[in-house]
Amino acid sequence: MSSPAGPDESAVPEPTPSTWRRLMLMMRPRATKANLLSAALALLLGFAVATQVRQNSSLGLESLRQSDLVNILDDATLQSARLDQNARELQATRDQLVSGSTSGAAALKAAQERLDALAILAGTARAHGPGLRMTITDPGGKVTAPVLLDAIQELRDAGAEAIQVNNVRIVAGSHFSQGPDGIEIDGRSVPQPYTIAAIGDPATMSSAMEIPGGLSENVRQLGATIKIVQEKELTVGALHAQSAPRYARPVPQSAPAAP
C-alpha cells in the first residue's frame, strides 16, 4: 500500500460522507491472518520507536560516526585551547591583584605605624607602657615653673616618650609660666601636688631624677617633698588639643632645601 505520493497530490479527493464509516469498519476487530500480522508489525514498530527514543536520549559517543567524532574532537580541542587561554589570563589578573593587595596592605601598615608614632609625639593619642610616676608636694610654694620645666627636660633627656603633668599632656610646643595662683602649663593652671607621669625606661629615668645635683635634690632643697615610683604599666591619658599651624607650612619634599 504505501501508495505512490505523486498522482493525487493535486487532486483533492471527493469528500465522501463514508470516510468515517470506512475508518470505523477498519477499526472493527477482524481476526484475519493479515490483520494479526499487521498487529505484530505495529507492535514491532512501537517497540522499535520506544527503544530508539530511549537509546537516543541515553546516547553516548560510541554510536556516532567517525566524521562526527572528529568534528566533536576538533570542537573540544578548540574549546580547551580557548579555556586554557582564558585561565592563563585570569591567573595573571589574580596574581596582579594578590601582589597589589599585599603591597597595599604593607603600605597601609607602615602608614599606620607612622601615624601611631606621630600621634604619641603630638599628644593626640593616649599612650601606655612602663614608666615613672613622680609626686611633688610643695607646701611652701617654692617650686616654680622653671623647676618643673627642668624636671620635664631631665625626663626627656632620660628617654621619656610621653609625659603628662596632672592632666596636661606635655608636647613639643608646651610652655610653662607662673600664673597668679601657681604654675600654668599651656595656659592651664596646674594645682598642687604636681603628679608627673612619664613613659620610658623606668630605671634610667629614676636614676636621672636621683643623681646628686639633680631634680630630687633641688626640690628637697626648696623645702618640697618628692616621691618617685617606678611602674610596670602606666597610662598617659591626657590629650593635647591639636591646632593647625597658622604660619608654618611644610616645604614640598620635591623642592630643593632652602639655605
Binding site: M1, S2, S3, A5, D8, E9, V12, P13, P15, T19, R22, L23, M26, M27, R28, P29, R30, A31, T32, A34, N35, L36, L37, S38, A39, A40, L41, A42, L43, L44, L45, G46, F47, A48, V49, A50, T51, Q52, V53, R54, Q55, N56, E62, S63, R65, S67, D68
Partner: protein
C-alpha cells in the same frame, strides 16, 4: 483496531523493558523506524481511499524497512553512510508529509 492496540503495547514494552539495541543494528534502527512510519501512514491513507489491502500493507511495511536498512548499510560500506541516511530520511519524510496531507483532506475536507 488490533494493529493500534499492538502499537500501544509495543510502545509500553519498549518503555518498560529498557531493551538495549545491539551494536550492529544501531545505525539501522532509526532509519527502519522512519521507513515503517512511512508504511503506516501510507496504510492509513489507503484505508481512507478505500483501497486498503492487508497483504499489501504487510509486504510494503517489511520491504520499506529492509530496503531502508539496506541502503544505509550500503552507504556505510561505501563510506557515505551519513549522507545516504540523511537522503533516505529526507525522502521518507517527504512521503510521510504527502500521506498525512492526503489523510487530512479526507478527514477535514481541507
Amino acid at each position: 483496531m488490533i494493529p493500534a492496540l499492538g502499537l500501544l503495547i509495543g510502545l509500553a514494552a519498549g518503555i518498560f523493558l529498557h531493551p538495549a539495541v545491539p551494536l550492529a543494528l544501531q545505525p539501522y534502527l532509526p532509519i527502519a523506524v522512519i521507513a515503517a512510519l512511512d508504511a503506516v501512514f501510507g496504510g492509513v491513507r489507503a484505508v481512507l481511499d478505500g483501497i486498503f489491502n492487508d497483504k499489501v500493507f504487510v509486504v510494503s511495511f517489511l520491504s520499506n524497512v529492509v530496503v531502508a536498512a539496506f541502503i544505509v548499510f550500503l552507504g556505510d560500506q561505501l563510506g557515505v553512510g551519513s549522507q545516504l541516511s540523511t537522503g533516505v530520511v529526507v525522502v521518507l519524510g517527504i512521503r510521510i508529509f504527502s500521506n498525512v496531507a492526503s489523510i487530512r483532506r479526507h478527514i477535514f475536507r481541507a
